[in-house]
Amino acid sequence: MSVSDDIGTPRGASIVRSPAALRKRDGRVGRVPLFAYAAVAPTLLIVLAVVGVPLAYSLYLSLHRTNPITKTFIYVGFDNYASLAGNADFAAALGRTAYFAAFSVAGTTVLGLAMALLLNERFFGRGVLRSMVLVPWAMAPVSVGVLWSFIYAGNFGALTGLLNDLGLGGWALPWLGDGFRALNLVALTNVWSQAPLTALMLLAGLQSMPGSLHKAAMLDGAGPVARFFAITLPWLKPNLLFISIIATINSLMAFDILWIMTRGGPGAATTVLSWLGYLTSFQFLRFGQGAAILYCLTALSFVLAIAYFAILGPRRSRPGARPVPPTVDGGVPGARTLAPMAVLPPPRVRPRLPRPVALGLARGGFAIAVLALVLWSALPVLALILMSLTPASDLIRTPATVVPSGLTLQNFQTVLMPSSSGGFSTSVQAQRVPLALINSIVVGACVSLVCIVLGTFAGYAFARHGRSRFFAVSLWGLLLTRMTPGLTLVLPFFIIYRGFGLIDTRTGLIIAYCSFLLPLSAWMMRSYFEGVPVSLDRAALIDGCSRVRMMWSVLLPVVRPGVIAAAIFCFLASWNEFLFALILTSTPNAQTIPVVISGFLSQAQFYEYGPMFAASVLSILPPVLVAFFFQRFLVQGALSGAVKG
């Protein structure tokens, strides 16, 4: 690679310098250049200002009792926390949270591992299947919730309909009607939408495994199962550590699908801590106690993260084994008395199926697994598309059936061209869809642009100067902000935004999302820059580039895949975000598509199912396109390990 070709400046440009300039240069050798500080400054300032203040404010809230009517704050110390100890609702919610999280983490890990192992094999159509598998994760939790609540819906839901069509109507149940069953089904839905993320990250780990390890183990006599446990699992251990931490945080903080699917019910059967915190804060307006509940959630994720580190963390070296310096390889064993060779029994002859039979069985099993994966990932999404093309009246037929009476684009017409939809009176909610789509696109585009520009610079500085104290501390600070649940921040955000007149503006949403996603993009870019040799920077500087020019002409082209990956992750996260959009907007002006979809549910008009599914299909369109066209970049992004959401 010729660095100097990429740069317009002639080589000699940096040679002629005044002695003063040279002296100045000398003084900087070995220290962190000013450029690095300038590169991280915007990211740090934005995150500090936009997340730091609400964080402090919500901590402050959790130490007070508030009266929303008189607007008085009474300092109560840790009373809010102490009162939770004896609170039966809290204890029950804690138990449900533990169950929900355990179910989700176990489910996503096992399923994600299976998916990753399948998708790591070479077979025809692997690329398409990889994309297909990603769709449930890429689509918004709100759309996931809408889809699965209709599948499970009592009398007219798709699952009941399918059973009816298969003549198994007797098996139909009020799926979400029973408390414990509802909790399990919501957790299963969570697994459905989160397992692809685990699979993605494990796939990245599998791809970094040298192929020779498995070949060596094969020759050493290990069969497929022994190889999985002796080679693959230990290799994935560092990934599994990260994955289980992320999966745990994600399931502890799960909120969107609960909001859509059960709203904590029936009764309190699905009231987990995040929902209880939401209720306490926003229904009962006990902000102090709500914040305290949510901070318990944060504390729980910290404790669990530490526990995972203890269990899965890097193995400590055995005492006495470490301090031996690498010996010089002179110790050629010569006239030493050797231990005698053990007498080995002749190699075992395993009873085996004839190879063609064994191969056939393996192929068949593999094909079945692939087919199951296709059905698991694609069938529900196809059902959503089918429902959006079904006449609205079909969707509430009883007895339910999944066979539509006909296909129509009416639903899409209703939401996309509200005025022209003839005799139908378009509902208020449906009229909001076009603007919501535009809002989502504008917000997503602005957020990803800001995040990749600032995140690239910050990631560069973190990668090159991560050793220096300032950068190490601020990097961990950034990551910690990603461990706090959005629910704790949303109330202070609301209050502060009201003060600044940012409620109901796209600008407000963009600022909020940037502050969450900048740490993510900075982290991803840092990982990417760490793979770029420092000599490239040096070559550019020696060739006379300024540092900005070095970034632009030399490094940016090299890290472009990483930039694309970061942009995709930021766009998806902002497109799919629900909670902040819900709280920080109240009129259609700035409402994004997840909010409008959720509005269909609040509006509770049965015949609106059609337009709601049409809106949902439109909302998953960009994530699906991303999954299909940028799947390669998503795997790359997962390699950088720190993906959340």
Partner: protein, 340 residues
């Protein structure tokens, strides 16, 4: 401890043929090297012998038994990989014990055998280290240890020395040779490095583009290369090739004369009986024990050697001679060696 017979073995990846009808017969206890340029299919051949890759045509026999359809673990073969493929999460001891544990041997036997291999390779002090804590040479020894610990029928090595520095490489190859003598194992050894192949092997198989070029004792390959490829590939600096019609001595058109630089010396400095060339000395390159002379013979650069360059002047005319029996004669169109 087993002989390996490769019968018209072919292998292709998709539509691309990598091995084309190889016939190689490795005797029991023999040390054979596969030598060839990068990408010629050496690793692929080893993988086929080990059973990691299935062959597309032909047969592989161990001691006369067809093993082509056996799974790798049923062939009782060990392979040392170019990157060693040590299990990164296992200490050296566990790496060595892994193949034994897979055979469900008792802990007692495993410990004794690990101690034996560690003693043989001087690994006793390293048994509790992780692979990441070892130097390149130490890793190489662990990899060899893991390969021999279960007493395999044959030992395959894929460029096991290419990651070592020059001096360590020379030392290690002596050790490998010693080990092979002691264990009397059949060894198939892949290398890029012709010197390594010549020093180590009982016989060398030279390959190019998936085709076997010559399979013979090292000095036979050096002295009687079977074709132009082998003649050019073996020996450094490369053999000089001169058209038969232009050269003195009248070997005739359609033939090429090959002469190694070490056989070509300034006239008067050696036994100048038969073959002689005259040209203009272009360059003298000192190379330790000898000096290389670049001589321009009618627009063609010819490399020769001399021990004492004093009295030679670049730019001056120089006559080179070579003993007649050192000349190699090739058919220009087929590339095959002609009996001279």
């Amino acid at each position: 401890m087993t002989s390996i017979t490769i019968e018209t073995v072919s292998k292709s990846y998709g539509a691309m043929p990598v091995l084309k009808g190889l016939d190689i017969d490795i005797r029991d206890g023999e040390f054979v090297s596969f030598l060839g340029p990068s990408g010629c299919g050496k690793s692929t051949l080893l993988f086929c012998i080990a059973g990691i890759e299935a062959i597309s045509a032909g047969r592989i026999l161990f001691d006369g038994q067809d093993v082509s359809r056996l799974a790798p673990r049923d062939r009782n073969i060990a392979l040392v990989f170019q990157d060693y493929a040590l299990y990164p999460h296992m200490a050296v001891r566990d790496n060595l014990a892994f193949p034994l544990r897979q055979q469900k041997l008792g802990p007692d036997v495993v410990r004794r055998q690990v101690d034996w291999a560690a003693g043989l390779l001087g690994l006793e002090a390293l048994l509790d280290r992780m692979p990441a804590e070892l130097s390149g040479g130490q890793r190489q020894r662990v990899a060899v240890g893991r390969a021999i610990v279960r007493n395999p029928a044959a030992l395959l090595m894929d460029e096991p020395l290419s990651n070592l520095d020059a001096s360590l490489r020379v030392r290690t190859r002596t050790e490998i040779k010693r080990l092979q003598r002691e264990l009397r194992t059949t060894v198939a050894f892949v290398t890029h490095d012709q010197e390594e192949a010549m020093v180590l092997s009982d016989r060398v198989a030279v390959m190019n583009a998936g085709v076997l070029q010559q399979f013979a004792e090292p000095m036979t390959i050096y002295r009687q290369p079977a074709n132009l490829f082998v003649a050019g590939f073996i020996g450094s600096p490369q053999m000089n090739f001169l058209p038969g019609d232009g050269a003195p001595g009248g070997h005739g058109a359609g033939r090429l004369i090959g002469v190694r630089p070490f056989d070509l010396v300034p006239a008067g400095g050696g036994p100048g009986d038969g073959f002689a060339l005259t040209g203009e000395l272009a360059l003298i390159e000192p190379a330790g024990p000898v000096h290389y002379l670049d001589v321009d013979v009618g627009g063609r650069m010819v490399k020769a050697t001399c021990v004492d360059p004093s009295g030679l002047q670049p730019g001056a005319a120089l006559t080179l001679t070579a003993p007649r029996h050192t000349l190699h004669l090739f058919d220009a169109s087929s590339g095959l060696r002609l009996a001279s």
